[in-house]
Symmetry: C2
Subunit: 502 residues, 2 copies
């Protein structure tokens, strides 16, 4: 210690003091930090519950179901019939009880069917093996189990099986191994298989009843609502784009910059494929409920979802214009600004109305058609303006025009997308037997309708008392106008299907 | 029968004959149809196996693992220690054995940890309840189970828990119910909990050993390869776009139309988010292996994947120009065609080289930088051409220019995207300690380098023997050139992060 200079001693003391003070400080702040942590978690939980109160209800439903089936253990008469196997009932409930009715039903049916089939096979395998004597038996059972497990595991790689029967194949491996291997020790394997099956049936039924009777969450409705919401999100973006960006580029005060985030909801649409596919797979298990029949056209929702995503990709490219930091607002000639604003707002209205008509399960109103026609008229007037070779054409440098041209081109693409979405929504309305819409916007339409619609509208008005015909014509209008306007847009239908296939 | 006219009798006979002949026809074609069905399934299986032979290996591994643990049942000494509980070993293997090591490890650890924690809690709950007498006990246990199940179910809704610990929470409900309810009937519940835990530990270890020792599939490597492949897919599209579309628009023979599909691989990139997120979650469980350490920067792969998807969205917009049926090839002035081809091909090379450098886990070679510089030079020359007000400018109608302007604008966007991807790949190379690339392309670079690179390249050349510095400068070059060129592109980094969050 004699070697240590004063400096070192002081610094050593300093170290000590600082260590003590740091520990003190840490201990002093510990309660605060713990409180902050707890408050943080509590806030997260509150947000989770507030965002979707069905989560809380679901949790209570699971608790209820498990407590209910645990009565098989407590009540002597119930316990007598199953004994320790009653635990299988509890396990089935824990494993099978999912958030949506479709998922619960799918898992329950998979479990029950796989157990009965694989159980029967297991009993058969056991009998076959028992013919081969005491030494041959385990070898043969081992071989059977090996082949069954390997084959079933490989089957799980088939995309269609993976989507709907993955759990069933898992359970079949489980049950086959369970029954055939148990046979080596237990004598009553038929009873064993039977007990397993009946406990699973009870657990599955209890889960299904509680899940579908107390505030049920239907996967089909989730899919239905998700597609509608996604359309509305795109509509909201286009509205924001039309009112904020295009107007602010005119030189207005950009005080609404904070609003920008409220239009960024479309980003979740970009990655919606997976959720929609899953929901559709669950929905196919669900029985008819409310206005959804058993064979509701879920595939049409997937097609529609694909088209909506196509549109979202274009909107993502458009979004680059929304960032005031990297992108200076372009100075638009008044005519182009007006046309773009109109395209944007009319497409927004189209998407919003389509979304709302899906939500309400009614045929899209005729005003949807009017909005599409109106947005196409804006595209036309925009093109005419460019063709006319106005003053802007001669004065402006080509380089300056590029951003405007891109913007316009993307908007035109979006009009095409919107039209395809409208067409697909009509298809859905027909396939899913949506309610016929009341025609009340006729007056509004007549104000803005261009020449080529007059005839159709006139027909529509003549047949007001025969809505079926009205829809067919509206549809035809859409299809014909669409095929003629396919200009610079790739066939979105085949695109959408491709997206669904891979 | 007297009322039947001759006509009716004949038609009745006809019906009979046609029915018989139809049944005969059906029976006649049945074997053929069955054979066709079997051949169809066999073909599908062969394709599944050929696309990824690891699927077959995985199936055999599962069979092996299950057969191996079934020895616990056959061998008397092993059976003595566990008895009927040996079945838990088999069940654990069936449930835990997943395709990748990460998934198996994650599920196994979740199962083991959840079982031990919930088992201990279950024993505690049982003891607490047993203090309350014969009537109070089931009521209290029921209450505990209810609260535990509801709370755990609600916790499963937290996104972070759902991603990594979902299975653990499921198993904890299972084990807690199992142990605490069993306590009502069995006396040795500590032994029960202990048996359950040890069987799970054995099953998990066997699964893990077989999975990771025999041809292991690492989730981390899957993610790594997926990001690299996605980049290469985009590169392939741009190459096809540059060589086929842009050249065919010149008037060349479009015989390669059938090739179009081979460039459509990028479509799978659009929906790659879900797979990448899942793989990253599995990868985090994996121990270090080969050149991947335990704390490999998996998050950086997700960021990079987000940027690649950003680029894919632009490419999807560009793809609209690829369809010869809806889109007539534009007549490009030679200068613009050349510039677009160059941008397309150079970006393609950049993406392909970046993908290949990730695949090989080396720093991107300096030629990547050269390709970026070269594509930017093409953008510049394109802009200069437009600014110069050439003959094309004065003669062409504005309307004709729109498709070309859009095409160019999208390509410029893609150059920006490519640059951000390069930047992010450099970050990854640093974080993941990639191997340093050998600098051999210097001569090639010098041929094509424009003025503003000369300085950097000169520095690079001076430091050839000190690769670390080279990279740092190359990186700086990228960053500075990037920040100055952010022109008309939204901040992709924040976009990428947003994509990851929602």
């Amino acid at each position: 210690m004699g070697f240590i200079t004063n400096d070192h001693v002081i610094s050593h003391d300093d170290d000590k003091t600082s260590l003590v003070s740091r520990v003190w400080c840490w201990l002093h702040h510990l309660p605060k930090r713990l409180v902050a942590k707890v408050v943080g978690i509590a806030t997260m939980m509150r947000n989770l519950a507030r965002d979707d109160p069905r989560r809380v209800i679901h949790s209570f439903k699971v608790g209820l179901a498990i407590t209910l089936v645990s009565l098989f253990y407590y009540f002597q008469p119930l316990y007598n019939s199953f004994g320790v196997s009653a635990m299988w009932v509890v396990m089935t409930v824990v494993v099978v009880f999912e958030f949506t009715v479709g998922a619960t039903l799918g898992k329950g049916l998979n479990r029950a069917l796989a157990t009965s089939l694989a159980g029967a096979l297991g009993v058969g395998a056991h009998h076959l093996a028992s013919l081969c004597g005491k030494i041959g038996e385990p070898v043969l059972i081992g071989l059977f189990v090996y082949i069954f497990a390997a084959a079933s595991t490989f089957m799980r790689f088939f995309p269609k099986i993976k989507a709907r029967y993955d759990y069933g194949f898992l359970i079949s491996i489980l049950t086959f191994s369970f029954v055939s291997i148990s046979g080596y020790r237990a004598d009553e394997i038929v009873e064993l298989a039977h007990k397993r099956l009946s406990t699973i049936a009870i657990g599955g039924s209890v889960s299904l009843l509680i899940n579908s009777l107390i505030f049920p969450v239907w996967a089909g409705e989730e899919l239905h609502r998700s597609v509608a919401t996604n359309m509305e999100k795109l509509g909201l973006f286009l509205e924001g784009f039309g009112t904020i960006y295009l107007k602010s580029s005119e030189g207005e005060v950009k005080s609404k910059d904070g609003n920008k985030t409220s239009f960024q909801g479309y980003k979740s649409v970009l990655n919606s494929k997976n959720v929609e596919d899953t929901m559709a797979n669950f929905a196919r298990w669900e029985p008819g409920h409310g206005r959804f029949r058993y064979h509701h056209p879920w595939n049409q929702y997937l097609k529609l979802g694909g088209l909506v995503r196509q549109c979202a990709y274009r909107i993502d490219a458009l979004n680059a214009y929304f960032d005031p930091q990297t992108q200076k607002p372009q100075k638009f000639p008044e005519e182009i600004r007006e046309a773009c604003t109109k395209i944007s707002l009319e497409s927004s209205k189209t998407l919003k109305e389509l979304g709302s008509s899906i939500r309400k399960m009614t045929y899209p109103s005729t005003s949807v058609n009017a909005h599409i026609v109106s947005s196409k008229a804006a595209v036309k007037s925009f093109k005419t303006f460019l063709k006319s070779g106005s003053s802007y054409n001669q004065n402006a440098e080509l380089l300056q025009i590029i951003p405007i041209a891109t913007l316009a081109s993307l908007l035109i693409d979006i009009v095409d997308c919107t039209e395809k979405i409208a067409e697909s929504t009509y298809d859905l309305a027909i396939l899913a037997h949506f309610k016929k819409a009341k025609i009340k916007e006729t007056n509004v339409v007549e104000k803005s309708k261009p020449e080529n619609v007059t005839k159709h509208e006139a027909v529509t008005n003549n047949h007001v008392d025969c809505p079926q015909v009205v829809i067919t014509i509206a549809e035809l209008t859409l299809i014909t106008s669409n095929s003629s306007a396919q200009g610079n847009y790739v066939d979105a239908k085949s695109d959408g299907q491709h997206t669904l296939d891979d």
